[in-house]
C-alpha cells in the first residue's frame, strides 16, 4: 500500500518536474527560443437569490468571468493574445460581454529606427485627455485600438507616434475610425552635451486625434470627422514636477451632449476643451501635490451613440483620491465628462524617528483635500441655427459635486504592532454622480468616516489584522441609506494562508427592515504564482470605480471562487 502510494506520488513528482522543467525552459530569457509569459484569472460565483437584500434570481445560478494572457517575445519581436470567456458574465458587469473568444492579439517589431505594432494597441498621449486605451479586467474596461501603430525616434529626445484603427466594443469593434498623431520632444536629451547636467528635464508634446463615423441622421448634419488637438509641457527638476496639458475638441454632437425636448433631439455642436495641471514637490520626508482640472464637453467616443464606458477614446484623469478602505470608498466620485472643475491638494509628511510624535519608528501623516464642481452652463438661444445650446466661462464654477477631506496617519508602534488611522469628511452629489441628472430626487450625502486598522504580527510571517470602520451620515435614500459600521478580522497564520471575516452593518437605515448585516467570510491560499480565494456570504449593492470610471453592482449572496496564476 505504502509502496503503491509512493510509486504514484513519485510518478506525479516526475510529471510535475517534467512540466515545470519544460515551462522553465520556455520562460527563461533564451536567445534561441524567446520567452513566454502570461497570466490567468478565473472568477466564478454561485448566486443565491435573496429578496431581502435585493439579490436577484440568476437563471444560470453560476456565472463566471475568465481571461488568460499569453505573451511571447524574442529579441526585437513580441506578440501576444488574450482569451476571454464569460459564461455568462458575472453580476454588475455589462451583459454585452457574453460568450468567449480571442479579444486581443498583437505583434510588434521594434528596432532603433521604427517600432511597429499591429493588432490591439494600448497607448496614451500625454495625460490621456485626448487619447488613452487601456485594459482594466476588474471593471471589464477595454477600449483597445485594433489597428496599426508606428513609433519613430528620428533624433534623440524626439518621438513621433502615429496610429489608426477601430476600438474594441465587447466581442467586436465600434463603428468609428480613430486616427492619432503625437509628437514629443525632450529638450534635455536633444541638447544633450550642450547643457549642464543640472539643466531641468523639459518635455514638450503635441497631439492630434480625429475620429470618423458616417452621418446617416435624417435630421442633422453631423460632423463625420471630429478632430481634437492639444499641447503639453512637463518640467522635472529634482523633486519638483510640473505637468500641464490643454486640449481642444471640435464640434462633437453625441448621445452624451444631447437632450430631448418634446420628442425632438437637440445635440450640442459646441466645442469641448480641457486643461489639466499637476505640480508636485518632494524632499526627504515631505511631499506636496496640487492638481487642477477643468473639462467641458469632453466625452469623446468613436461612436457618437455610445454610452456608459463604451468606446471612449480619451481618459479624463481623476482629481480625487481613490480610497482602498471600504467605507471611504462607499460613495466614490466619477469624473463628469460633460463639465467639471476639480482640484486636489495633498501633503505627506513623515515625522522623524526618535522625536516625541515620531516615536521609535516614525509617523507618516497624509492630509488631502479634493473637490469637484460642475461648470456653470449659460444657455445660448441658438437651437434653430448653430445649436451650441450653451456656453461656459472660465472662472465661473457650478454646483458642488463632491468633496473629500481626509487625514491618514500610519504608525508603527512596536515590532509587533502597527496601525493606520483615518478620518474623512465627504460630500457626494448623488443625483449628478450616480444618476446624471440634477433632479433625480436623491439627497446629497454628507458623511463622516473613521477607519482604524491595527495589525499584530505575532511571528515573523504570521499576523492578525483588525479593521474597524464607521460611515456616519443621515442619507435618507436607499439603497444603502443611513450609517454603517464595518468590522473585519483577518488572520494570516503563514505566508500561504489567510482567513478573514467581514461584517458590514447598516445599523441606522431609516427602514428597520433594511438594517442588515452583510457577512462575508473569505479564505485564501497563495503559493508561488498561484492564488486561490474562496468567499461565502453577502455583498451589498454598491458602486465600483477605477480611475474615475464606475459601474453599479447589485447585491449578491452566494459562494465565489477566484483563481489567479502567472508564469
Amino acid at each position: 500500500m505504502f509502496l503503491k502510494t509512493f510509486k504514484s506520488s513519485l510518478k506525479a513528482t516526475f510529471l510535475v518536474l517534467g512540466l515545470s522543467l519544460s515551462f522553465s525552459v520556455l520562460a527563461q530569457e533564451n536567445p534561441d527560443y524567446g520567452s513566454i509569459h502570461g497570466n490567468y484569472q478565473i472568477d466564478a460565483q454561485y448566486y443565491k437569490p435573496d429578496s431581502l437584500i435585493g439579490a436577484p434570481v440568476v437563471p444560470e445560478k453560476m456565472l463566471s468571468n475568465a481571461y488568460g494572457i499569453i505573451n511571447y517575445s524574442r529579441g526585437k519581436f513580441s506578440a501576444g493574445v488574450r482569451y476571454e470567456a464569460y459564461n455568462n458574465v458575472m453580476q454588475g458587469f455589462d451583459t454585452r460581454y457574453k460568450g468567449q473568444g480571442i479579444t486581443n492579439r498583437f505583434a510588434r517589431y521594434q528596432d532603433k529606427l521604427l517600432d511597429i505594432t499591429i493588432g490591439n494597441i494600448y497607448d496614451q498621449f500625454g495625460s490621456g485627455l485626448l487619447f488613452r486605451t487601456y485594459y482594466e479586467p476588474g471593471l471589464l474596461y477595454d477600449n483597445s485600438l485594433d489597428g496599426v501603430r508606428v513609433i519613430s525616434n528620428p533624433y534623440k529626445g524626439l518621438t513621433f507616434k502615429g496610429l489608426v484603427g477601430k476600438q474594441r466594443s465587447f466581442f467586436t469593434v465600434g463603428p468609428g475610425i480613430v486616427r492619432g498623431f503625437d509628437g514629443e520632444m525632450n529638450l534635455k536629451e536633444m541638447l544633450d552635451s550642450a547643457v549642464s547636467s543640472d539643466f531641468p528635464t523639459i518635455i514638450l508634446g503635441g497631439s492630434f486625434v480625429s475620429k470618423y463615423q458616417p452621418d446617416q441622421d435624417p435630421n442633422f448634419n453631423l460632423p463625420e470627422n471630429v478632430g481634437s488637438y492639444g499641447g503639453r509641457l512637463n518640467i522635472i527638476k529634482g523633486g519638483f514636477n510640473f505637468f500641464a496639458e490643454y486640449v481642444y475638441k471640435e464640434n462633437d454632437p453625441s448621445a452624451n451632449n444631447s437632450s430631448v425636448v418634446n420628442g425632438k433631439t437637440y445635440y450640442s455642436y459646441k466645442f469641448g476643451d480641457g486643461i489639466f495641471v499637476s505640480t508636485s514637490y518632494a524632499i526627504q520626508g515631505l511631499s506636496f501635490l496640487l492638481q487642477v482640472k477643468r473639462i467641458d464637453n469632453m466625452s469623446y467616443r468613436s461612436d457618437r451613440d455610445a454610452t456608459l464606458q463604451n468606446l471612449m477614446i480619451n481618459y479624463l484623469p481623476a482629481t480625487t483620491k481613490q480610497h482602498t478602505y471600504l467605507m471611504p470608498a462607499f460613495f466614490p466620485y466619477a469624473t463628469q465628462p460633460a463639465g467639471e472643475f476639480g482640484t486636489m491638494g495633498e501633503i505627506q509628511y513623515k515625522i522623524k524617528k526618535g522625536t516625541l510624535l515620531g516615536g521609535k519608528y516614525g509617523t507618516e501623516i497624509t492630509l488631502n483635500y479634493s473637490q469637484a464642481n460642475g461648470l456653470k452652463q449659460i444657455h445660448v438661444d441658438d437651437s434653430t441655427t448653430t445649436m451650441t445650446l450653451y456656453k461656459t466661462n472660465y472662472g465661473e464654477i457650478g454646483n458642488l459635486y463632491y468633496h473629500d477631506a481626509f487625514i491618514e496617519i500610519n504608525k508603527k508602534f512596536t515590532k509587533q504592532w502597527k496601525g493606520t488611522f483615518m478620518y474623512a469628511n465627504q460630500f457626494y452629489n448623488r443625483n449628478i454622480v450616480q444618476f446624471g441628472s440634477p433632479n433625480a430626487g436623491y439627497a446629497n450625502i454628507l458623511s463622516n468616516i473613521v477607519v482604524l486598522d491595527l495589525t499584530y504580527k505575532y511571528k515573523s510571517n504570521s499576523s492578525i489584522r483588525l479593521e474597524t470602520q464607521g460611515f456616519f451620515s443621515d442619507n435618507p435614500s436607499n439603497p444603502n441609506a443611513g450609517s454603517w459600521l464595518t468590522g473585519m478580522l483577518e488572520w494570516s497564520p503563514s505566508t500561504h494562508w489567510f482567513v478573514a471575516i467581514l461584517d458590514q452593518y447598516n445599523y441606522s437605515n431609516p427602514s428597520d427592515a433594511l438594517q442588515f448585516h452583510y457577512y462575508l467570510g473569505t479564505a485564501g491560499y497563495t503559493s508561488g504564482p498561484h492564488r486561490i480565494t474562496l468567499s461565502v456570504g453577502k455583498q451589498r449593492a454598491g458602486i465600483f470605480c477605477v480611475g474615475g470610471v464606475c459601474r453599479n453592482v447589485p447585491a449578491s449572496n452566494g459562494v465565489a471562487i477566484s483563481i489567479t496564476s502567472s508564469f
Binding site: 455568462n88 455589462d94 451583459t95 454585452r96 457574453k98 519613430s152 528620428p154 533624433y155 513621433f160 502615429g162 466594443s169 467586436t172 463603428p175 486616427r179 492619432g180 509628437g183 480625429s210 470618423y212 463615423q213 446617416q216 441622421d217 435624417p218 435630421n219 442633422f220 448634419n221 453631423l222 460632423p223 463625420e224 470627422n225 471630429v226 478632430g227 481634437s228 488637438y229 471640435e250 464640434n251 454632437p253 453625441s254 448621445a255 444631447s258 430631448v260 418634446n262 420628442g263 425632438k264 433631439t265 445635440y267 455642436y269 461612436d303 451613440d305 455610445a306 454610452t307 456608459l308 434653430t384 441655427t385 448653430t386 445649436m387 444618476f435 441628472s437 433632479n439 433625480a440 430626487g441
Partner: protein, 281 residues
C-alpha cells in the same frame, strides 16, 4: 534625418485636415416622398420602466418617430427589468409582461442588462453600433430601416366580441421576393393612452402621477418568440395565413385603445422583416 522629420510633419498635416466644422447643424427637410407601393414598415421597441427617470425623453423620441413617419413606424414600449419592478408606495402598477421579460432577458436581447432607456429598431444593427441602441440613434436607424428591401407584406384581420372579450385574429403574409431563412411571426397586444405613475428626472418632484403611456406592450398572443410563418426555402409570391383564435382579452385593458401588432422576423438573424397593426375595435 530631415526626411523623417518632413514625413512626420506631412503625416501631421494629413491628420489636421481630418475634422469637419459644421455651421448649419440642421438639415433642410427633404421633400422626397416615398412613392413605393410596397412599404416596409419599421418596428421600434422602447425598453423602459416606470421607475426609470431618464426614460420619458426616449418615449417622446419614439412617439415623434411614429408621428412623423405617417404609419410607417410602429412602436412598442416594453416595460421590463430593474426599473419596471414595483416600488411601493408610489410605483405600484405593473406593466411587465411575460413576453417583454423574455425579450429583455439574457436569453433575449438583454436590453435592461445594458441599461435603460434603450431600444431596438427592427432588432437589427444599423451603422455597426449594435442591435440595442440609445434613443439618439433611433432616428438614423429608422430612416435606414425604411430603405431596407421589402421582403413580405402582412395583413391582419380580426373578429372581436366586446362582451365576451374574445379576440380571433388572422394574419396573412405574402412574400414579394424569395427568402433563404425561416421566417417566424409574432402577434402581440398593445395599448395606448394609459395614465399611471412615471419617474421623470426633468420634473421636480420627479414623480409624475398622470403620465401618459403610449403603445404599451400588454400581452403576447402566440408566445414570446411567435409561430412559424414559413420555413425556407421561400419563393417569391408564396403566401401564408395563420389563425389565432379564442384569445381572452384581460378585463383590465381598455379595449377601445387596444390594437394588434404583428411582425415577421428572420428566425436566424432575428431581424424584423415587416410589421403591421390593427385596432381591435
Amino acid at each position: 534625418m530631415k526626411i523623417k522629420l518632413v514625413t512626420g510633419l506631412f503625416i501631421l498635416g494629413v491628420f489636421m485636415t481630418a475634422c469637419d466644422k459644421i455651421s448649419n447643424p440642421i438639415q433642410n427637410a427633404s421633400n422626397s416622398v416615398d412613392t413605393a407601393t410596397y412599404v416596409r414598415k419599421v418596428l421600434l421597441e422602447d425598453y423602459t420602466g416606470h421607475f426609470c427617470g431618464n426614460c420619458p425623453p426616449a418615449a417622446e423620441v419614439a412617439s415623434q418617430l411614429v408621428e412623423s413617419n405617417h404609419g410607417k413606424v410602429i412602436a412598442i414600449a416594453v416595460h421590463a427589468g430593474f426599473y419596471a419592478k414595483l416600488y411601493p408606495p408610489d410605483y405600484v402598477t405593473s406593466f411587465t409582461t411575460a413576453v417583454g421579460n423574455d425579450w429583455d432577458g439574457t436569453q433575449g436581447f438583454n436590453v435592461s442588462g445594458i441599461g435603460n432607456p434603450n431600444g431596438m429598431v427592427n432588432r437589427k444593427s444599423y451603422g455597426g453600433s449594435g442591435v440595442v441602441q440609445k434613443e439618439t440613434k433611433w432616428p438614423t436607424s429608422v430612416s435606414l430601416a425604411l430603405q431596407d428591401q421589402y421582403v413580405l407584406g402582412l395583413t391582419i384581420s380580426k373578429t372581436y366580441n366586446a362582451s365576451s372579450r374574445i379576440l380571433n385574429s388572422t394574419v396573412k403574409a405574402k412574400f414579394k421576393i424569395a427568402y433563404s431563412n425561416n421566417v417566424k411571426l409574432n402577434l402581440v397586444l398593445v395599448e395606448d393612452s394609459i395614465i399611471s405613475e412615471q419617474k421623470d428626472y426633468r420634473k421636480n418632484p420627479d414623480l409624475v402621477t398622470n403620465y401618459l403611456f403610449m403603445h404599451l406592450l400588454r400581452a403576447g398572443i402566440n408566445g414570446s418568440w411567435g409561430s412559424t410563418l414559413k420555413d425556407a426555402p421561400i419563393a417569391a409570391k408564396d403566401s401564408v395565413s395563420l389563425d389565432f383564435n379564442n384569445f381572452a382579452v384581460d378585463s383590465k385593458f381598455n379595449d377601445n385603445h387596444l390594437y394588434l401588432v404583428a411582425f415577421a422576423y428572420d428566425a436566424s438573424t432575428k431581424e424584423i422583416l415587416q410589421a403591421e397593426k390593427l385596432k381591435i375595435r
